[in-house]
């Protein structure tokens, strides 16, 4: 590689927001608006203009709690049940209370939401119990609208800088972060009174069945860097064994998407064109029925639209082929799939971590605080279950507003310069080798073993073998990986995050000795749910340099769940009437 920078620049700020996708811009914006004097920096591995899960926008809100359509109590109950009871309700309640105000604010930013002829929000029912899905007719403009607000608020934006590690003080408080430029390999050290992690899901954990490393459901830039950084800083990560697994268009590996098609009359069907699940809302229990249907010989599973009127299908196409994943239309065209005549073949995706869809994320309270003082997390990587895009916006706002008050009464924590030197050495190691194993091979092998051994159903012996294989890859990564330019260096650092996440997936899954969340944590050695011993969170943490897990009680419910409501999501399979 070219010249290795010998000088490390340092930047001081009050709040460092890492990740410029959805939660990050909102966190930075809200902090700056609340205190315009605060120095807020937004750091992004790509470019904030088009980064993150919503780089091409979003078709709608999946979890809008709108007065007159749903109440916070009802939503909290739905999410608690959907998440098999393992849910601290305070953050979910806080989200449910705040999200309508955020919808109104997004509306002011120029992002429109579907309204009926009376001017009321036109909310659709997709969930098992309540009504929360709100289409966004100009959903392709989300990032542009956000970016305008960031410019207006004069947020300092650093694009193409990848954070590699957090810095903590001697007292354990957050002290800042180290970042490396993805085009020049220059280092930046941030001293910050508070850091807000908004780095998205760990979406590059399993390998798509196409074998294409970047053919993931999540934006492939979301390689789990936030999970790895939180772990190395000593933060607790909750319920990582509750994997994200999605029903996706086979090979394309994107959503089909039942939330869009469902309200128009589309549904998930087996190879006979018959419904087999009650509700298309993504949950572990729904995914287990999907899996069972495939095992029964009635697969493949399809999204069925061909019974709908041509006009209706045209409307669905105008959404699916325009926002979120617009290349869907090109994929179908290439295979001659016309929604009018053919069902869309679906499959079960590879695994990932994501709280936006399931519940695997960095542990946070109702103020988005992690277990490390001064460190916040929001969006897909923070464990507020089933949180989706509106959750990222809302909890990003909550994090930004809380952090800006926190920094007003705190000073910089002192970090050890030796930590910076050690991190620079770790980061640059692959650039100092003449030859070796390139990052794409390290990554491919890790993710191939994730599929071989970690994809549910989870078998203890397979998980033990995975741990052995990952240890061998770690040895290769530490001592033999080579990066020939700054771009490859970014991929090398991502490969390290992915391997960290793979180890965490093993550790958390082996710890919880029961089955829960349907397919997400279905252990063949412990096939039953065990509420007597495992009605609790699992918290994974780095302790004395080693990865370990402990249990944490579920906080007492704010919204009580009646006994006959608890298993509503377990009744997904359609039962024939006698």
């Amino acid at each position: 590689m070219g010249d290795i920078p010998d000088r490390v620049s340092q930047v001081d700020c009050d709040i460092l927001v890492i990740g410029g996708g959805t939660a990050g811009p909102m966190a930075a914006y809200k902090a700056k608006v609340k205190n315009p004097k605060a120095r807020v920096v937004l750091l992004e591995k790509a470019n904030v203009k088009r980064s993150g899960a919503i780089c091409m926008g979003m078709d709608g809100l999946n979890n809008a709690v709108i007065p007159g359509h749903a109440t916070p109590e009802q939503y909290v109950k739905e999410i608690t049940i959907a998440n098999d009871g393992i849910c601290d309700q305070a953050p979910v309640y806080k989200y449910a209370e705040r999200c309508f105000e955020i919808i109104q604010e997004l509306d002011k930013f120029g992002i429109r939401f579907l309204k009926d002829e009376k001017g009321d929000f036109d909310v659709k029912k997709v969930h098992h119990i309540g009504t929360y899905v709100l289409p966004m007719p100009n959903g392709d403009t989300v990032k542009k609208a956000l970016y305008r607000q960031l410019r207006r608020a004069q947020i300092l934006i650093s694009n193409r800088y990848m954070a590699t590690r957090l810095l903590t003080g001697n007292d354990g408080r957050i002290a800042g972060a180290i970042a490396v430029n993805t085009r020049t390999a220059e280092f930046l050290v941030f001293r910050a009174k508070s850091v807000i992690l908004c780095l998205g899901a760990a979406g590059r954990l399993g390998l798509p069945s196409s074998g294409y490393l970047f053919g993931t459901y999540e934006n492939a830039a979301n390689s789990g860097d936030g999970y790895a950084m939180a772990y190395h800083a000593g933060a607790g990560l909750a319920n990582l064994e509750c994997f994200q697994i999605n029903p996706l268009i086979k090979d394309y590996n994107g959503p089909s998407c039942a939330y869009v098609a469902g309200p128009f009359g589309g549904y998930t069907a087996n190879n006979e064109g018959m419904r087999f699940i009650e509700c298309d809302y993504w949950s572990g229990q729904m995914m287990l029925e999907f899996y069972n249907e495939l095992q029964s010989g009635k697969g493949p599973v399809f999204l069925k639209l061909d019974h709908l009127a041509g006009e209706t299908i045209g409307e669905i196409e105008s959404i699916l082929h325009k926002v979120e994943r617009p290349t869907r239309g090109r994929f179908h065209e290439g295979r001659g799939t016309d929604y009018r005549h053919r069902m869309i073949e679906m499959h079960i995706s590879e695994i990932g971590f994501c709280s936006g869809h399931s519940a695997s994320g960095v542990f946070v309270d109702e103020y988005a605080r992690t277990t490390v003082d001064g460190l916040y997390a929001a969006g897909d990587m923070a464990n507020v279950p089933h949180n989706y895009m509106l959750g990222a916006f809302t909890n990003g706002a909550i994090a930004g507003e809380h952090a800006v008050d926190f920094v007003a009464e705190t000073d910089f924590a002192e970090f050890d310069p030796a930590d910076v030197a050690a991190e620079c050495q770790r980061v640059l190691a692959p650039t100092l080798r003449e030859d070796g194993i390139p990052p794409n091979q390290i990554e491919f092998k890790t993710r191939r073993f994730v599929n071989d051994y970690l994809q549910p159903p989870k078998v203890t012996r397979k998980y033990e073998l995975a741990a052995d294989r990952f240890a061998e890859i770690r040895d290769d990564l530490d001592h033999g990986m080579v990066a020939r330019d700054p771009h490859e260096l970014m991929r090398a650092l991502e490969a390290a995050s992915i391997l960290d996440c793979a180890d965490m997936a093993v550790c958390a899954s082996l710890f919880r000795a029961e089955s829960r969340w349907g397919l997400y944590h279905y252990r063949t050695d412990f096939p039953d749910k065990d509420n007597d011993n495992w009605f609790c969170h699992t918290i994974l943490r780095k302790q004395d340099g080693r990865m370990g897990c402990e249990t944490r009680p579920v906080a007492p419910y704010i919204v009580p769940i009646a006994d006959d409501e608890r298993d509503a999501y377990d009744k997904q399979r359609i039962r024939r009437q006698a």
């Binding site: 203009k49 193409r160 970047f214 993931t216 492939a220 590996n253 080579v482």
Partner: protein, 77 residues
Amino acid sequence: MPLANTPTTVPVVVDEDKCIADKGCVVCVDVCPLDVLRISELTGKAYMKYDECWYCMPCEADCPTGAVKVNIPYLLR
């Protein structure tokens, strides 16, 4: 161990007649979340340097001259 170069067919195609990168435009390079596009020193036009595509489309949507086309990567086509 020495490295080999294994060929892949890349999904993003740039129409060099329409591309105005030689006049200073870097929009597609800027907006790519995976940072896989570059301007060729040889032709002055944008091209896909790394086959690491999420087929997401900002490069195509934001190109001021309609020069960029995102195809589905061959392995999942």
